[in-house]
């Protein structure tokens, strides 16, 4: 009797501890962003008086100000365009390469595959000065075009690597059947394999999009001379506000606004993203 009670007690304690742990993890991951949302409903003057967990008198004044601010909306637009264009480029170009690496046997395949893998780790900072020169020579320094171009350095190897593993996972009979039916390799690729890998394309594209949306170093360097070409991370880091002293509340509102599109995407595609993330790093 006593033993059973003890074991139930023990069980209860472990469960209690487990749920405490779950709660702790949830608070740890959610609290900062929740706090940003809380601040975004306070005025800047209120924020500068003292910190509060919840807004005293929720107001939408920050949202109004930012959504009306042409400069801020432009950075959102810049970010969207840059990320979309570079991702589409990377997907188109990268899916060709991934198809070759995943479905075709040829000499030098492994060498190129590992080169691509190594490239996914490429330290952007170490080529900054070289890239600066090239971007200037191409006449695109200071424009969003320079970002679309340079972002290929991380979107392209990543896309190739992840898509290669997806292509490799498809059954081998597909091309043989298509070949028997008289399709050319390119037709097989375009009409059969691309539709089959459409989900993978979406996942990879999404991950590459988030990476491009979040990029800071190149955006900071290549738009120094032209504030109009700035992307969201640069704008947030150099946030000057709409007029008064330290624009804490506005800045937090801006972080909420720029994070929400990404969060919505992530929540819709969460299963795919988790698969894609782990595929990118772990399997080949």
């Amino acid at each position: 009797m006593n033993d059973r009670l003890l074991s139930r007690l023990q069980h209860g304690i472990t469960r209690g501890l487990f749920w405490a742990l779950v709660l702790a993890i949830a608070v740890y991951t959610m609290f900062p962003f929740a706090y940003a949302i809380s601040i975004s409903f306070r005025t800047n003057a209120q924020v500068l008086i003292g910190a509060r967990y919840l807004p005293e008198a929720p107001t939408l004044v920050n949202y109004e100000g930012l959504l009306r601010s042409e400069a801020f909306m432009r950075t959102m637009l810049n970010s969207s365009i840059v990320a979309s264009v570079t991702v589409i480029l990377a997907l188109v170009v990268g899916s060709f390469a991934a198809y070759a690496l995943g479905r075709v046997q040829f000499r030098g395949r492994l060498a190129i595959l590992y080169l691509v893998l190594a490239m996914t780790m490429f330290p952007q900072i170490s080529i900054l000065s070289g890239l600066f020169r090239i971007v200037t020579d191409l006449g695109i320094y200071g424009s969003t075009l320079s970002l679309m171009f340079t972002y290929l350095i991380f979107t392209l190897p990543f896309t190739v690597w992840v898509l290669t593993s997806f292509f490799k996972g498809l059954p081998a009979e597909i091309e043989q059947a298509a070949l028997v039916d008289g399709a050319t390799p390119f037709q097989t690729f375009r009409l059969i394999l691309v539709p089959l890998t459409a989900p993978a394309l979406v996942t990879t594209g999404l991950l590459a999009f988030i990476a491009a949306w979040n990029e800071y170093l190149f955006a900071l360097t290549f738009t120094l001379i032209n504030p109009e070409a700035r992307t969201v991370p640069v704008a947030i880091a150099n946030f000057a506000g709409l007029g008064y002293e330290i624009p804490v509340a506005e800045r937090m509102t801006a972080t909420v606004i720029v994070t929400i599109p990404v969060l919505v995407l992530v929540l819709i595609f969460q299963r795919r993203i988790i698969e894609g993330l782990t595929a990118g790093a772990v399997k080949g």
Binding site: F18, A26, T29, M30, P32, F33, Y35, A36, I39, G50, A51, V93, G94, F96, A100, V104, Q105, F106, I112, Y114, L117, A118, M119, M121, P123, Q124, S126, I127, L128, S129, G130, L131, R133, I134, L138, G139, G142, S143, L145, L152, L156, P157, N214, Y216, L217, T221, L224, I236, A237, F239, M252, T255, T259, L263, V266, Q270, L277, T278, A281, V282
Partner: protein
């Protein structure tokens, strides 16, 4: 391009077809030759290279000298300066009509000839080895009241670049080599096609296709850039200018497209021989890889080469003197380290003195004293060149002694230390926390899916935004929620300065990074955990292993490959950390990446920053090789 023997032609071509074949192969040969011509032309007409050979376009400091002889001997004759646009004189503030009185140490007297004066301020008389390409001039500026104001200026000279560096910085090694190789390949393709070789015909379609695509890209670029009027300007987009830039390229596409069209049609009836599967595969694979390889060369390979070349020079943005080759000087300056022991400063009671926040006050080391002595004996110019060893950090080894690390570039070594320290601690913490979270999520409980979703929030937030977010949370006074939280819980009695120089800034930075990346780590490890089959645990449970035992004898060993990959993945990321340091800290507490950025953008020291970049690249490269190895083992 496997067999060299020309395959026979399927049927005798008609005269017209034979002519078309000759035309297409002729076109290919022409393109091959044009590649060389273009390379030669680009080198021959390059502005820097021309000046390197012939001397600078505008000699001296960029002034025209005129000797003015006032009539009737009203005053002695004088030399008037007229600045030339593009010369350095205008930037230095020389105005039209200023009267030259002195150049370096030579007085300008009325009896001198105009040639003598020109030679004095021309480039030729300054030896190349001289460090300052600056000329000191003194002149009289006429005033409105008829008087003169005497002015002296140091004006940099227009000096020609050095040929080899100008070549390397303008062309490099990889791109010209690539042009030559591709030129040879296309030329060879043309020759083989001329003889009716059918593999050559197939490869020629690939080559033509990508050449057309390449030209289309160039046309788009020209359209955009020319339409905008070159660099970033406020001008509205000019459609006509854009079209003028794109049109020549578009016209060049026409013959290529015609050739491609004819050739791909002709493949079916003119050329015999079925392609073998392996050569077909090879051709197909390469034709798909070409755009990716081209993009990677352009966006990564070429800049890397440029960075490496620049790191061997003293290149400075918008400097007036030419770039010089300095060998490994940037690297030796960055990596010069000395170790020495120092004693602490004793107070009257013989105890080590301490600063208010508790750190020991150290004496100067013998090396620093010696160097200070040496510097005192140098001339002023030598002193400017001399780079002293400075303290990076001092580590106490006993009650009153310490080891001092000295470096010529103390900030870089600090950045190195910061980065390594940051990487080790944050990656370790991330692994431990990530493992705990992964294990929690992996065990079946209600709301598990929700939990996994919550994990994605920090991951999805841009790093910069996360940094700004934490900056607000960690605000140093009562407006910071973290201070408020700790004070409400009674863990802190007054607000802490989390990010200040004297505060626990490294811990704060690490906390931000851990928060941002633990979810990623947890998801990776979770994926690994889910591949471990459940029956292994059952077997272990039957054998009487408890949960803790199971973890160490089953989970951990089976998870090892995943852990290894996750660790390297994160280490690579942590070593190039930029965003968090850049946003949250000032430039006195850099990471290697922010130091590189600061040298390049604020310091304009392209050469020096490049050397930092190459060092980061080497560090990352070592880890990348390990990473690729592990993945390869996993593969096979």
């Amino acid at each position: 391009m496997n067999s060299d023997s020309p395959a026979p032609i399927r049927r005798e071509p008609t005269n017209q077809e034979a002519l078309a074949l000759k035309l297409v192969s002729g076109l290919l040969m022409l393109i091959g030759i044009l590649a060389f011509v273009y390379l030669g032309y680009a080198i021959a007409t390059n502005d820097d290279l021309r000046q390197a050979v012939h001397g600078p376009d505008i000699p001296g400091i960029g002034v025209e000298i005129v000797k003015v002889e006032p009539e009737a001997g009203a005053e002695p004759s004088y030399f008037e300066m007229q600045p030339i646009p593009g010369g350095e004189a205008i930037a230095a503030g020389v105005l039209q009509g200023d009267r030259l009185t002195r150049v370096d140490d030579t007085d300008i007297t009325p009896d001198m000839s105009i040639e003598q004066v020109r030679v004095l301020i021309a480039e030729e008389d300054v030896p190349r080895e001289r460090d300052d390409f600056v000329i000191a001039i003194e002149f009289l500026r006429p005033q409105e009241d008829g008087g003169f104001q005497s002015i002296s200026r140091s004006v940099p000279k227009n000096v020609a670049p050095i040929f080899i560096i100008a070549y390397l910085q303008n062309f490099g090694i990889v791109l010209p080599l690539l042009v030559i190789v591709l030129g040879v390949l296309i030329l060879r393709l043309g020759i083989r096609l001329w003889r009716g070789d059918s593999p050559a015909a197939r490869w020629a379609t690939v080559a033509l296709l990508w050449m057309i695509v390449g030209l289309v890209v160039i046309a788009i670029r020209n359209f955009w850039v020319d339409g905008k009027g070159g660099l970033v300007t406020d001008q509205p987009f000019n459609f006509l200018n854009g079209l003028t830039g794109a049109l020549p390229v578009l016209i060049a596409i026409i013959p290529l497209a015609l050739a491609l069209r004819w050739l791909s049609g002709a493949l079916n009836w003119l050329f015999l021989s079925e392609e073998t599967l392996s050569s077909r595969n090879t051709r197909f694979a390469w034709s798909l890889l070409i755009p990716t390889l081209a993009a990677l060369i352009l966006v990564a390979g070429q800049p890397l080469e440029q960075t490496f070349i620049t790191s061997l020079t003293d290149d400075t943005f918008s400097a007036s003197r030419p770039v010089r080759f300095v060998g490994l000087a940037n690297y030796t300056n960055l990596l010069s380290i000395q170790l020495t022991t120092v004693d602490c400063r004793k107070d009257n009671s013989g105890q080590c003195e301490r600063t208010p926040n508790g750190s020991i006050v150290w004496e100067r080391s013998s090396i620093e004293t010696e160097e200070a002595e040496r510097v005192r004996q140098l001339s002023r110019q030598e002193r400017q060149q001399f780079v002293r060893f400075q303290e990076v950090s001092t580590i106490p080894i006993s009650a009153d002694r310490g080891v001092r690390i000295l470096g010529k570039d103390a900030i870089f070594l600090t950045a190195f230390g910061n980065t390594v320290w940051f990487a080790v601690i944050s990656v370790t913490l991330e692994l431990i926390l990530g493992l705990i979270i992964a294990l929690v999520i992996n065990s079946a409980f209600r709301g598990r899916g929700l939990m996994r979703t919550a994990m994605l929030v920090p991951w999805a937030i841009p790093t910069v935004v996360a940094a700004v977010l934490w900056q607000t949370i960690l605000r140093p006074d009562q407006t910071g929620i973290f201070n408020k939280l700790l004070m409400d819980l009674g863990l802190l009695d007054k607000p802490q300065q989390w990010l200040a120089n004297t505060g626990p800034w490294m811990a704060s930075i690490i906390a931000v990074d851990v928060w941002k990346t633990v979810p990623f780590m947890a998801l990776l490890l979770l994926a690994g955990l889910q591949t471990i089959p459940g029956d292994i645990y059952e077997a272990a449970a039957v054998d009487g292993a408890n949960r803790v035992h199971q973890f160490f004898s089953v989970t951990l060993p089976l998870l090892r490959p995943t852990i290894a990959i996750a660790l390297i993945f994160r280490t690579l990321d942590a070593l190039r950390v930029f965003d968090v340091f850049q946003v949250l800290l000032d430039t006195t507490r850099p990471s290697m990446a922010t130091y590189n950025f600061d040298r390049l953008v604020a310091g304009r020291l392209a050469g020096y920053a490049s050397a930092v970049g190459v060092l980061i690249f080497i560090m990352i490269f070592i880890f990348t090789v390990i990473y690729v190895r592990i993945v390869r083992i996993e593969h096979t």
